[in-house]
Amino acid sequence: MALRDSLQILVVDDMATSRSLIIMALEEIGIKKIDFSVDGKSALQSLSTRPAHLVISDYNMPEMDGLHLLHALRNGPATKGVGFILVSGRVDQKIISTGKQLGMNNFIQKPFTTPQMKDCIQAVVGPL
C-alpha cells in the first residue's frame, strides 16, 4: 500500500482560492486523506481531535500566520512531531530562516506545479 493512500494531510489557508489550489494538487498527486482549516487557530483545534502526518500551511494569514502556527505546533506535546510545509507567495530569507529555526520541514513558493508540490512533500515524508 502506497504512502499516498495513508498520509493524512491538513491544509491551512484562509483564502479559498489557494486552499483549493493546494488541495487540487494533492488530489492530483493521489493523496486520499486531505483535511483543511481556514486559519491557524482552527488548525490547532482540528489537530487536537483529528491528527495529521503533515501540515501544509500558508504563511500569509490573519491573526496567526504560518510561522506562529508552526511555533504552536512544535510546542504542543501532541503535535510537535508533525511534518510542516510552509507555502508562501514570496521567498523571504527571513521567513525561511525563522522557519528553519522553528523546525519547518520544507518550503514551497506559490504558484507551484503539481510535480513541484509532490517533490516538496516527498522531501519530507519519503516516496509517495
Binding site: 482560492t17 483545534q45 508533525v82
Partner: protein, 704 residues
C-alpha cells in the same frame, strides 16, 4: 473536488471580497492618517489583501496583475514596517492603485486587455514612494525545493499517527439530584445537553428510587443518572456544567481511563497497514463522527456564516415563487367561482396559503437584497477620478450604506449613478477660486445617500455647489428648440429640463460629463427599473438629484382596476387616495381638460381609458373612480378608472425584452384567471397624457 475553472471562479469571487477589504482598510487608514492613529493591523490587513490577490493571480498566469500587485504590495509592506510614513499623499496614491488593481482584476476575469493609460505613471509614482534600496525587486523565481536544506520530518507512518490525541478520556458522572432539584426550577435534561457539548455522552437512568404511585410526589426528583462522557477537557469543566445545581445534588465524577478514541487510534493504525479492510474503515468513520462534527464546527465558527449561491439558482427560485403566487391567485379565483368559499375551513386555509406564499416570497427577495455599500465604494472612486480630472477638490460623503436593495437594481444603478456623480463634481461643484470667493470651503462636498422610504428606496446625490443656473438652462433649452421662447416654467420644471434628450449645459465639453450621454439617458435607465429621478436645486447652496426606486423588480402591491373593460394594475405605492367625485367637484377647463377639486385643490383628471386608447372620449366622470397619484415633486393627478376590482400582490413580468420600453407601461402581470394585465406607470402616464396640467408641462412635450 474542484476543477481549475471552478477555482478560477472562486478566485475572482474572493477578489471581490479582498478588494472590498482593501478599500475598507484604506478608508480606515484615511481617517487616522492625520495623527497616525490608525490601527497597524489595518495596514497589515490591507497588505494581506493585495498579497492574496497576487498569490491567486500568479496561479492563473495573470502576469500584469501580479506585477502590479507586487509593486503595490511592496509599498504597503514598507508602510507596514514603518519605512514609509503614511500621509495623505501616499494614501491618495494607494487609493488610485487599489482602483487600478480592481481594473486589472476585472480585466483578468473578463479575459480582456487591462486598461492602459495611467498604469505606467502609477507604477512610477508607487516606486517613487520607496526609499531607493527598498525598490521592489523583480520577483525571484526560485520555487525550487532542494535549495533550502530542510530536514525531512521524522514521520513514520507505520508506527503511529503523529500528534495522536491521547488526552481524551472517559469520565463517569454519578448524578443524584436532591428531591428539591426539580421543584426549584432546574431541568436535568438541560444539564445533560450541555454536557453532551463537551463530548460523546452516554446517559443511563436509575429508576430504583421511584416509589409506588400512591406515595409519589410529582415535584420530587427520584431518578438518579449515570453519565459517561468522552472528552479531552478536564474534570473541572465537567463540574462547571453542574455549577447551577450545586448543593441540590450529589455529584461523583471519576475518570475511567482512556476513551474509545484510544482504541480508535489502534484501529487507525490497523487501517494504515491494511487499508483493504473495509470493516475497519467503517469503524473509523463512525467513530470519527462526533469528532468530525466538532471539527467542522471549529473551522466554520470563526468565519461568516454565509454561503455563496449561484445567482441563477436564486433567480430560478424567485421565478418559481412568482409562479406560486400566481397559482395561488388562480386557485383562489377557481374556488371563488365554484362558490364554495363559504366553507369556513377552506377560506381559512386559503388565507393561510396566501400568507405563506407571501412570506416565502419575501424571504426569497431578502436573499437577493444586497447592501448598497459596494456600489457606494465604486462611486467613491468615481469622485476621486472626477476630482482629479476636473481639478476640483471633492470630499465624498455617504449615508445609509447598509440599505439593502435588490441585486439587479444595484447592478443597473452603476451607470446612471456614475454619470450623476460625475455631473455633481464636474457641473455641480464650482472651481476652487469661485468657491473661495463665495465664502465656501475650497473642497466641495458630494454626498451619496440611500434610505428606505414608504416601500421604496430613495438614493440621493447632492453637492454643495452653486446650484442650477436656471436662466442659463432656460436659454439653452430655447436655443436648442426644446421649448418655445415664451414658455413660463416653474423653477422645478426648469430644473427638470436637464433630463430632456440632447441637453447639455457645459459650454466646453469636458472630458468627464460631455460624453454625448445626457441626463436623459440617466432618466431612462432609472425608468427602466421602475424608478423616477428628480432634481432639486437651491441657487448658491447646491443641487440634489433624487432617485426613487422600487425595492424589488419581482413583485408589487397593485390595485387591480377596470379601464373600459380592460383590466389594469396600478402600483399601490403611487396611489395617495381613491375617491368617487361629487359632480359639483368636477370642472371643465376648456374643451378637453377636466380638473377635480379635492379639498379645495384642483387636480387634473387623466382618463386611463382615453390615454390607452380604449375609448375615444371621457365618459361621465361622476360614475368613475378616481385614483389620486402624486409624484415626488408634489405634482398630483387623478387617474379615472371604471371600477376597482381588488388589491393584491402581482408578479411583475417585464415587457422590455419583448417590446422595448413602452411609455406609461411599467410591466405586465398574469392574473388569477390567467389573463394578462398591464401594470401602468401612473406618473409617466399622467405626464404623457395629452392634457397638460396647469402650465406647460415640459415633460409632456418630451418625445413628441
Amino acid at each position: 473536488m474542484s476543477s481549475s475553472a471552478e477555482i478560477r471562479h472562486t478566485f475572482f469571487q474572493e477578489c471581490d471580497d479582498l478588494l472590498e477589504a482593501l478599500d475598507d482598510g484604506l478608508c480606515e487608514i484615511d481617517e487616522g492618517v492625520s495623527d497616525q492613529s490608525f490601527d497597524p493591523e489595518t495596514v497589515n490587513a490591507v497588505f494581506r489583501a493585495v498579497h492574496s490577490i497576487k498569490g491567486g493571480a500568479a496561479a492563473f498566469g495573470l502576469d500584469e496583475l501580479v506585477q502590479f500587485a507586487h509593486q503595490f504590495e511592496t509599498v504597503l509592506d514598507s508602510m507596514r514596517s514603518g519605512n514609509l510614513i503614511a500621509n495623505e499623499e501616499v494614501l491618495k496614491l494607494c487609493h488610485r492603485a487599489a482602483d487600478y488593481l480592481n481594473d486589472l482584476v476585472v480585466a483578468g476575469r473578463d479575459d480582456v486587455d487591462p486598461p492602459k493609460g495611467s498604469s505606467q505613471d502609477l507604477v512610477e509614482k508607487l516606486s517613487g514612494l520607496l526609499p531607493g534600496k527598498l525598490e521592489a525587486k523583480k520577483e525571484e523565481n526560485s520555487g525550487a525545493i532542494g535549495d533550502f536544506n530542510f530536514a525531512p520530518a521524522a514521520i513514520s507512518i507505520m508506527d503511529d499517527v503523529p500528534g495522536a490525541v491521547s488526552v481524551v478520556s472517559t469520565y463517569v458522572v454519578k448524578f443524584r439530584p436532591h428531591k428539591t432539584l426539580v421543584s426549584s426550577g432546574n431541568d436535568p435534561l438541560l444539564l445533560f445537553r450541555e454536557l453532551s457539548e463537551l463530548g460523546e455522552l452516554k446517559v443511563s437512568a436509575d429508576f430504583g428510587g421511584i416509589e409506588s404511585l400512591e406515595s409519589l410526589e410529582v415535584d420530587e426528583c427520584r431518578i438518579t443518572w449515570s453519565l459517561e462522557v468522552d472528552t479531552n477537557l478536564s474534570e473541572l469543566e465537567i463540574r462547571e456544567v453542574f455549577e447551577f445545581v450545586d448543593g441540590m445534588c450529589d455529584l461523583e465524577i471519576s475518570k475511567s481511563g482512556p476513551a474509545a478514541l484510544g482504541n480508535e487510534q489502534e484501529t487507525n493504525l490497523n487501517q494504515l497497514e491494511v487499508d483493504a479492510n473495509p470493516r475497519s474503515d467503517a469503524k473509523i468513520s463512525s467513530g470519527n463522527d462526533s469528532v468530525g462534527r466538532g471539527k467542522s464546527g471549529s473551522s466554520g465558527g470563526g468565519a461568516n456564516a454565509t454561503v455563496r449561491v449561484n445567482l441563477e439558482l436564486v433567480d430560478r427560485l424567485i421565478n418559481m415563487v412568482g409562479e406560486l403566487v400566481i397559482n395561488q391567485a388562480v386557485l383562489t379565483q377557481c374556488i371563488d367561482d365554484a362558490g364554495v368559499l363559504d366553507n369556513g375551513e377552506l377560506s381559512t386555509s386559503l388565507a393561510e396559503f396566501k400568507n405563506l406564499a407571501r412570506d416565502i416570497q419575501e424571504s426569497v427577495m431578502a436573499i437577493r437584497a444586497q447592501s448598497v455599500k459596494p456600489l457606494f465604494q465604486r462611486m467613491a472612486r468615481i469622485v476621486r477620478e472626477a476630482s482629479e480630472l476636473s481639478g476640483k477638490e471633492a470630499l465624498f460623503e455617504t449615508e445609509g450604506e447598509t440599505t439593502e436593495v435588490d441585486k439587479t437594481i444595484i447592478e443597473r444603478l452603476v451607470d446612471p449613478l456614475t454619470h450623476m456623480i460625475r455631473n455633481a463634481v464636474d457641473h455641480g461643484l464650482e472651481a476652487p477660486d469661485l468657491r473661495r470667493s463665495a465664502g465656501k470651503l475650497e473642497t466641495g462636498k458630494v454626498k451619496l445617500s440611500a434610505a428606505h422610504r414608504s416601500g421604496r428606496v430613495i438614493i440621493e446625490v447632492s453637492d454643495d455647489g452653486s446650484g442650477i443656473n436656471r436662466e442659463k438652462v432656460f436659454n439653452i433649452a430655447v436655443e436648442k428648440g426644446l421649448i418655445p421662447a415664451d414658455s413660463s416654467l416653474k423653477d422645478s420644471e426648469i430644473d427638470n429640463l436637464l433630463f430632456l434628450p440632447g441637453f447639455s449645459t457645459a459650454e466646453k465639453v469636458s472630458n468627464l460629463s460631455g460624453r454625448g450621454v445626457g441626463m436623459d439617458v440617466v432618466r431612462s435607465a432609472i425608468q427602466k427599473l421602475g424608478g423616477r429621478v428628480n432634481i432639486f436645486s437651491k441657487p448658491g447652496a447646491g443641487t440634489t438629484m433624487s432617485i426613487s426606486l422600487p425595492l424589488t423588480l419581482a413583485v408589487l402591491d397593485g390595485m387591480v382596476v377596470d379601464v373600459a373593460g380592460q383590466t389594469m394594475v396600478v402600483p399601490i405605492t403611487a396611489i395617495v387616495e381613491t375617491l368617487r367625485p361629487d359632480p359639483e367637484d368636477i370642472h371643465k377647463l376648456g374643451s378637453e381638460n377636466t380638473v377635480v377639486s379635492v379639498r379645495n385643490k384642483l387636480v387634473p383628471v387623466v382618463d386611463l381609458g382615453v390615454v390607452f386608447g380604449h375609448r375615444s372620449s371621457a365618459v361621465s366622470l361622476s360614475e368613475m373612480v378616481l385614483l389620486l397619484v402624486e409624484s415626488d415633486d408634489a405634482m398630483s393627478w387623478a387617474l379615472a378608472v371604471d371600477q376597482i376590482f381588488d388589491q393584491r400582490q402581482v408578479v411583475i413580468k417585464g415587457l422590455e425584452s419583448n417590446y422595448g420600453y413602452v411609455p406609461g407601461v411599467a410591466a405586465a402581470t398574469i392574473l388569477g384567471d390567467g389573463n394578462i394585465a398591464l401594470i401602468i406607470d401612473p406618473e409617466e402616464t399622467a405626464r404623457r397624457s395629452d392634457k397638460p396640467s396647469e402650465s406647460m408641462s415640459i415633460l409632456a412635450m418630451e418625445g413628441k
